[in-house]
Amino acid sequence: MEIKMVNLKINGQAVSVPEGTTILDAAKVAGIKIPTLCYLRDINAIGACRVCVVEVKGARSLVAACVYPVNEGMEVITNSAKVIEARKTTVELILSDHDKNCLSCVRNQNCELQRLSEELGCDAKRFGGAVNEFELDASTPYIVRDNNKCVLCRRCVAACKNYQGLSIIGANSRGFNTHIGASFDFDLNDVPCVGCGQCISVCPVGALHEKEEIDDVIAALQDKSKYVIIATAPSVRVGLGEEFGYPIGTNVEGKMVTAMRKMGFNAVFDVNMTADLTIMEEGTEFLSRLNNGGVLPMMTSCSPAWIKFVEHNYPEMIPNLSSCKSPQQMFGAICKTYYAEKMGIDPKDMIVVSVMPCTAKKFEKGREYQNAAGVPDIDITLTTRELAKLIKRYGLIFNELEDGQFDAPLGIASTAGLLFGATGGVMEAALRTLADVLEGKSLDNIDYTAVRGTKGIKEATVTLAGKEVKVAVASGLANAKELMEKIKKGEADYHFIEIMSCPGGCVNGGGQPIKSAYERNNYDIKALRAGAIYDADKSASLRKSHENPVVKEIYETYLGEPNSHKAHEILHTKYVARKKY
């Protein structure tokens, strides 16, 4: 079908765009930026906030550029005095019912409302009058909701519904009383929220943020009786740089390691290492299920929001979940058993800090059956954003730091472990190892490109030692839900499924640096960050989990073999059915 082009003028400039394009997108083509607040490409085009209003010649009133389609001969003015005044008043009205305690706000200097107010020259106190007052919802270990800062843009509602298929939060009541909340205004901890944090990632202001544990780290580092370990998840290194001005998709592993070392941690390790260990355990579990008539398809268990999602929504599928702990939890468990024994340290005197691109990891560390040494495997979990704040608080000039390397032994990892950061990465890492194990030799062709890319659902059939294995990969729980429904109806016969809760995988997790709507709308952030992961993998020499020398040593000297009794005690866990309603 031929695409019909539409010709229009924006600020007197001629532009030609396909029919159906919005004024907002047509303006972008013409190199003109129209400010937005509630709009988020693909998930929230509701024309509600009126910040993107423009003048259209002949139109009765100003129109919302984010939802108004162009038509032939249209003349648009995006920056007339009338338009600017309307936007300014709109933002001032939003500010009239906003907690303007910006200096102490978690989003100070990274706030879209603040930026709009500045760009439009708003008087934040122009309108007085009634102000809503809300209690803070700090009921969960991962997300804090502060409706006093909410601007009712509904971006969080759209993320919860469209990315995750959950609709845990929505707009309650109406008019001036409208507020975002869960059903029956329950605390987030009392509803089937999975903790993914995608609502935080899309929030333009400080109404949603993670429950910070920064002070706990500072206190731990002051306590000289403790052996304090820090380790970072795969995605952290390809996100952290953004908080220090690096372009999206910059790998800052070296500087990140140096920063953590300078803060005084006793050991700076890499969760990629236990991602390798996960592959050994999960791969072995898969082969055992495949060969012994176990429950299939087996589903990965690295993503804690996914686990909670299954527990709430598909409890009947709990037997399909791999019993493996996530790499974060395996990391803490190995620190407090194998490494503690090796170093002669009482696990009670260890504090293990994990840095994650994720908010649900803060929930995961407090789950039952996550304490291999009789104490919690993980003590403190920071998001990537919190690590950046910690680095700033310690007065480190990040951009000027030299590159460092992770400490041995638990900082040695293959890039198969690194792949865990991107959707399809766990599957690819597993296939690299499974293929070698089943063929009984080291294969060279190990790029499983069919499971790469940011598509929501990917399927592939892989031949492993003559045996056909059907795999599926999904990211974003709305996509996961689609897969689950197919399986329930018997329309799918997969053997192995990888799920990551956040669209694009952990690189786009709810704990990663927050990007403005403008960046979200105009760049493929998840693909750029994933690109940095695949680049690092391409040039690495150690690219298979089972070839990691530390993994080999841990099995030889400590665990015996994958899925051994001891490995089960330390590296595996259990799940519980939870209520959906």
Binding site: A171, N172, R174, G181, A182, S183, F184
Partner: protein
């Protein structure tokens, strides 16, 4: 606006009501936009929309509970509070209003410890403000179920309410 207040009156739905709701939901579950008619039916059936009923609707229509709750709290035709055993309705028509109906409402709110549209925790009294009920000569007027009280003053309220204890 703090949290939306939830009733503490225990849900007392009957098996007949449940059967009627189930039948309606069966019919609506494949209808696009079935939520509004479902809520309207349930509101008519139970007189209010408690969590037990909204949960049933959410399950049947394959929605999250918040999606149902968001709609139920948006439209003023729906209420989350049951009607009390005795419904006290204060006429807020012009004549009653100028004769002090507002003071009656305030006094009743304070007496019952509830807002308009709510029900006391024991399920006994609910309070609503109505439009003109057509007996302006008796202003200000309130009714308790079918009984009409005219020319009411705030100091008569204790006496009126005590008739229904």
């Amino acid at each position: 606006m703090a949290r939306i207040k939830l009733t503490k009156v225990p849900f007392a739905g009957t098996p007949e009501q449940e059967a009627a709701l189930n039948a309606k939901l069966d019919e609506l579950k494949s209808v696009p936009g079935g939520l509004m008619p479902a809520l309207q039916f349930a509101q008519e059936l139970y007189g209010y929309l408690p969590i037990e009923v909204q949960t049933k609707i959410a399950q049947a229509l394959g929605m999250s509970l918040e999606e149902v709750f968001g709609v139920a709290t948006f439209y003023s035709q729906f209420t989350l509070s049951p009607r009390g055993q005795y419904q006290v309705s204060v006429c807020m028509g012009t004549a009653c209003y100028v004769k002090g109906a507002g003071d009656l409402v305030d006094a009743l709110k304070a007496k019952f410890g509830i807002e308009s549209g709510e029900c006391t925790d024991d399920g006994k009294f609910s309070l609503i403000e109505t439009r003109c009920i057509g007996c302006c000569g008796l202003a200000p007027v309130l009714t308790v179920n079918a009984n009409v009280y005219g020319k009411v003053t705030t100091n008569q309220l204790d006496g009126i309410v005590s008739e229904y204890k």
